[in-house]
């Protein structure tokens, strides 16, 4: 009787050691080289560098997420980004945290140039160097580079910066379903 039991225990022990070795070997041999998590998260963030999340830029927020911060603090990314982050982090997607702002249409900064006094404050505020100008010279925004982060608006002493939505052209126009009561069928009456 005792021998049977000891055989069983022995067998289990041997198996345990064997599988342990196999698994250990496999984990070294088949290790998947992947981007560090922070970079992966950073790749998903919209890179507006707007700081609405409470961190000074997207990378710091990515680091914070990697360290366990909430994934719903990025208004420029909106629901889409939250969904991607949730997929990556393996957590439940949450609605956007309204404390950090709301999802808005894409905007770019526009300097009303005849009102600009050339103080360079916005240039210093711009996280992506998208504002051109020099001291006492008129400044202007490079629209293609502007991320719409809003950070230049507050420092402006004369309030000459507006955030304006990008105009819709027939190039960037998208088919959309009309939000009419009749359902999803795109019928629109043109006045």
């Amino acid at each position: 009787m005792i021998t049977y039991v000891s055989y069983a225990i022995l067998a289990v022990a041997v198996l345990a050691v064997l599988f342990g070795l196999i698994l250990g070997y496999a984990s070294i041999k088949f290790k998947v080289q992947s981007d560090p998590l922070v970079d992966q998260i950073d790749n998903l963030l919209p890179q507006t560098q707007c700081g609405q999340c409470g961190y000074p830029g997207c990378k710091p927020y990515a680091e914070a997420i990697a360290n366990g911060d909430e994934i719903n603090k990025c208004p420029p990314g909106g629901e889409a980004t939250i969904k991607e982050l949730a997929d990556l982090m393996g957590v439940e997607a949450k609605p956007l945290d309204a404390a950090h702002g709301v999802e808005d249409v894409k905007k770019v900064a526009f300097i009303r140039e005849d009102e600009c006094i050339g103080c360079t404050k916005c240039i210093q505020a711009c996280p992506v160097d998208a504002i051109l100008g020099a001291a006492k010279q008129m400044h202007t925004v490079i629209i293609d580079e502007c991320t719409g982060c809003d950070l230049c608006v507050d420092p402006c002493p004369v309030d000459c910066i507006d955030m304006i939505p990008l105009a819709e052209t027939s190039q960037n126009w998208k088919w959309k379903f009309n939000q009419s009561g009749t359902g999803d069928i795109p019928i629109r009456t043109v006045q």
Binding site: W175, I187, R188, T189, V190, Q191
Partner: protein, 370 residues
């Protein structure tokens, strides 16, 4: 003139704007479902002729239940009721279930089955288009497992029975379990020659367990004369309906053909191995619900495979499973089990049988060198 034109411009401006195509074929989901129901008529008619009015009553009962159940559950789900009822999908589910049930099964069998099909199998999975399983077959399986006695109580073909049961008696039996004269189903069943009458599949299965050969089983009373032909004719009726569906392009040829092929191949193989205990392919085709299954049940678009190659695999596997379960399983017929089984495999089949898209996996250049 310019004024007129301006007016014209203004008027066009009130036009609706919608996405192409602006043209549309005039056959909606509702029409498709109605055609399916009409295609069942020859089969049902022949079934009525051979098995009495039971089938008609079952069909009516099932369809009524289906509509009520669908309307109720849609109301509970706060979905538009009218549109969903217009597509007739619930009616088809009820109809298909009813034609698979024994004609004289008690009324609550069909009611429970239909409710299960519509409410649980279809609506709780998200409604039309979302159900994983074929509603009629899932309900059939549920009934077969839950109420085996009622679900296998078939009356012999009407011509065989000593006393033909009229419409009135049929209604009585279905509703109360007794004819107006007070006979119950079992008494009716043993009426002829004291034989317990079941479907031929049932009969052969029972006979085989009694160590009879297939030949002996087939030579017994049930297959003799016009009665034996009854089953085949019913199958023929459904075949006609099914061919009509093919002709009208409601269904594709892939599933029916591959399913019958699968069954024939499997049955032939077994028959070649030992023809004394395995009946031949012809027996399998004309008996049981193989034909109904091939044309009406496995072709249910929602739960079947949607790629052409996938359909071939899907159908073939159902045919094969049917024969295997009929031969080695405990239940005489197996269409429902096979269909449910293959429904589960559909996502996998679909994924691996995606057709090659135009311009993919082609050589970039195939000009002859010059």
């Amino acid at each position: 003139m310019p004024k007129q034109k301006r007016q014209l411009n203004k008027k066009i401006m009130t036009a609706k704007s919608s996405s192409s195509p602006h043209h549309h074929i005039q056959r909606g989901t509702g029409a498709v479902m109605r055609i399916v129901m009409f295609a069942c008529i020859p089969g049902i008619a022949l079934q009525t002729f051979f098995f009495g009015y039971g089938i008609l009553i079952q069909v009516l009962l099932a369809m009524a239940t289906a509509v009520i159940a669908e309307a109720t559950i849609l109301e509970l789900r706060k979905k538009p009721v009218e549109h969903a009822l217009k597509d007739c999908s619930a009616l088809v589910a009820g109809l298909l279930l009813a034609i698979c049930l024994p004609p004289l099964a008690p009324w609550w069998i069909v009611v429970i089955g239909t409710c299960f099909a519509v409410v649980i199998v279809k609506q709780l999975y998200g409604g039309l288009g979302y159900n994983l399983f074929n509603p009629a077959m899932a309900a059939y399986v549920m009934l077969l497992i839950s109420f085996p006695v009622q679900m296998t109580s078939w009356l012999p073909p009407a011509v065989l029975a000593e006393q033909t049961i009229g419409l009135k008696d049929t209604v009585y039996i279905i509703l109360t379990g007794y004819t107006s004269n007070g006979y119950n189903l079992d008494q009716l069943r043993v009426a002829a020659d004291g034989l317990t009458m079941a479907t031929p599949l049932d009969h052969v299965k029972t006979a085989l367990t009694q160590n009879l050969t297939v030949e002996e089983a087939i030579n017994s009373e049930i297959f003799r004369g016009s009665s034996g032909i009854g089953w085949s004719l019913v199958a023929l009726g459904y075949l006609i309906g099914g061919l009509a569906l093919l002709k009208l392009k409601i269904i594709n040829w892939h599933i029916p053909l591959s399913m019958i092929m699968g069954a024939v191949l499997c049955a032939s193989l077994l028959y070649l191995i030992d023809n004394s205990i395995y009946p031949g392919p012809w027996f399998h085709i004309v008996n049981g619900s193989l034909i109904v299954g091939a044309f009406f049940i496995a072709t249910d678009p929602v739960s079947a495979s949607t790629t052409n190659n996938g359909r071939l695999i899907f159908g073939f596997a159902i045919g094969m499973w049917t024969i295997i379960i009929r031969t080695f399983g405990n239940y005489p017929d197996a269409i429902a089990f096979s269909v449910i089984l293959m429904n589960m495999a559909v996502p996998l089949i679909d994924y691996y049988t995606r057709p090659r898209t135009y311009g993919h996996k082609v050589k970039a250049k195939s000009i002859s060198k010059e």
